[in-house]
Symmetry: C2
Subunit: 92 residues, 2 copies
Amino acid sequence: MLVRSIGEAAAHVRGRRLQLRLSQDQLAQRAGVSRKWVYEFEAGKPHAELGHLLRVLDALDLQLDVSPRSASSESAQGAVNLDEILERHRDG
Amino acid sequence: MLVRSIGEAAAHVRGRRLQLRLSQDQLAQRAGVSRKWVYEFEAGKPHAELGHLLRVLDALDLQLDVSPRSASSESAQGAVNLDEILERHRDG
DNA sequence: ATCAATTGACACCGAACGGTATCATCAGCA
DNA sequence: TGCTGATGATACCGTTCGGTGTCAATTGAT
């Protein structure tokens, strides 16, 4: 699932936690963070430590991926494919 | 690309930035963060603010995704598929 | 040789984080 | 009804972040 904001990441974490029937405390211990962090993160605190999130995702059996936003094969109309442009202009 | 640690995320950011021929300063301005943040992040500082990373990825035309770690169709030998287990045990 | 751009590095400092601890509330169950 | 577990919420407090500003070294181009 795409993650555009911390709030979206928080929703994914909470959803997965409930799916796994884990309490905030259990998740926190698994991930090695405090329950406060889990609670505040899920509650939408506007700041969050990436390292903590990675550990929590790991505890939830989730993984994080980085990918180019505009896929050349399925770009929307009018969308710009930065990778393509780069390819053409490389060694300019 | 999979992101297991902050260091890996940093590598992806730096690689993409160079690919786009952006200076740390340019990227920082695009993303609305300080050059210090970009520099320290790329240098492997063990802590990083998720919100900052999201803005930087956006400025690099990259996106972040969350996905289940063990895909049921291609799980490795001996691997446990949490989703499957959940499915079977749901409604206990 | 000179100049600008880029980068690594550091000091300073206010702001915010994150952990521990604690409390009230609510749901579920014996 | 009484008990237990989960959750939301807050205070305290040491630690660390992140921005601004600055500096030296390096690189690239003129």
